[in-house]
Symmetry: C2
Subunit: 363 residues, 2 copies
Amino acid sequence: MIVTPQDLTFDEPLSLTRGGQLDRYTLRVETYGQLNATADNAVLICHALSGDHHAAGRHHPEDKKPGWWDHYIGPDKPIDTNKFFVVSLNNLGGCSGSTGPVSIDPNTGRQWGPEFPAVTVQDWVESQARLADRLGIQTWAAVIGGSLGGMQALQWSIQYPNRLRHCCVIAAAPKLSTQNIAFNEIARQAITRDPEFHEGRYAEHDTLPKSGLSLARMVGHVTYLSDQGLGDKFGRNKQAETQDTFQIESYLRYQGEAFTTRFDANTYVLMTKALDWFDPAGNGKLADVLSRATCSFQVISFSSDWRFSPDRSVEIVNALIQSNHQVSYTCVETDHGHDGFLLPNNHYEQAFAAYLDRIEVSA
Amino acid sequence: MIVTPQDLTFDEPLSLTRGGQLDRYTLRVETYGQLNATADNAVLICHALSGDHHAAGRHHPEDKKPGWWDHYIGPDKPIDTNKFFVVSLNNLGGCSGSTGPVSIDPNTGRQWGPEFPAVTVQDWVESQARLADRLGIQTWAAVIGGSLGGMQALQWSIQYPNRLRHCCVIAAAPKLSTQNIAFNEIARQAITRDPEFHEGRYAEHDTLPKSGLSLARMVGHVTYLSDQGLGDKFGRNKQAETQDTFQIESYLRYQGEAFTTRFDANTYVLMTKALDWFDPAGNGKLADVLSRATCSFQVISFSSDWRFSPDRSVEIVNALIQSNHQVSYTCVETDHGHDGFLLPNNHYEQAFAAYLDRIEVSA
């Protein structure tokens, strides 16, 4: 599947929930499959913290890797592109083509950098609703996301209850725990303490806070994997050359370094803040907030995920039951931790496909 | 209880397991209680990663805080100083008075810094055995430690099986998991990437890698606490002044900052390496290695400890059972995570006291 991203520009100003507005912005989008005549087969994919619009297929035949969810999106895959018209975007504030901290601020002629306004999950849903309008989609057959993407899917069900029929909330939580926020704060501190950060104005200093960003990624990476999974993969094996370094040490440093070539530090700070702030129930009850929703739900968790443990998914399931919603819940047995939502797994695949197969769409 | 540390200097060269030797070194020591005539009532306390010799009592009546294990050491406390002569030391390579990276290298006249030789748990046990010799103690009534201290206690039972009668291994593990090593490596990277680190020669540059060391402590601190405990204490509460900062964020930054005023960066790197390397069974079976031991054991774990989970203590218990040792095991219910081993808890206190009460000593 060869795909080509497209840039869609929106000229109607977008007011942001935490203040300020964007007069004009671009969303980079990929689509897979065909929108049918009644436009009732569209599925929205929401990405996680460091994800992007490139969820499936390849941009060039020689690309080594396909999109990040290629195992689950495509012809005869759970999100079946023979049936669905799949829309995937880089979120507002991202660094993969949509307007964000690395874009030029038209008011100053230089990169937004740290001046890019704070965006929230609500803002993303709003921008995604406008994207739906642009594409001629009144109601999504399903809104689907994992991790921070699952939070967007959940928010869709509350914010635009009449614009989706199904909501798939995967490896997510109704809000971050204190420990989750703590790890995000450590990541942000790693970035902002890097002397090359220059209060976010590193572009003007012609540098990058590579050291801090890679450290932030190392922290994140460990929390995405399970103790068991890391043990199975690396154990206490040493590097061949030097008996003083464990393989896990060089693996982590490599993962951190690699991340700095594809991700922006200000964007990482912005995305982790959006995660921290997500809390649709606030001081109220999740069930009360979810009572606005009218769609059906699928919730999937992963047994060894300790970042967003199965208990957090069960909180969502229980709130959905209390608010009289139809909900299908699966906890997938895996040693892959939070990363399980991205990886091949038969049980996951079957549960996901079984749910999506039942969604009715026009011929 | 007012206590005064003393410095004991050893002139016999100590060969180190990872190469090199120390010709001369000092250990800073505190003792509580009185050694009896037959010297059979001595207890050794081994400290954890960032611990020191000051385990109990106060140095001055006006000290705000007593030693780090004061709740468990003293008259009528579990480690009862009416009965036991308690010895606590700052480990070799430490930064609280014993010879370590902040000491002057007699060969160069300047701080050892990063040139201080690597020390291991075995080296600590060796230096502690010499300390026992100096104090006239042939056999410890008990060697006791939590976390990295528990590893030292376990190593004592293997390395000097005839020099202890009881071994209390608290909140420990038979070796670090891959995830444990990963978090240690992140801490080390935070320190060594700080431009003020200067490859460990920060003293010569008249500076300190405060930013990196505090970041390392933030990472460590989160792993010492449980998700539940953090949630109970801070939840998602915001700071009063600004609604944008969660309390957990400023708490972590404060903890990190405070640590830099009392701990040395090179020492932190050295201590985490000793933790990583500890692996008494190596490629063999733990039960086989422990078959050398002749003492009795108490093993204590803490239900919400995810750094060294109860499963890790059970590995030790099972290996002790397989090697025909007497072992008493308690898992303490607590929300305090790994830090539980330092904190007041009735069940812990009772189990600990019950075991130590049964140890026989001469009048």
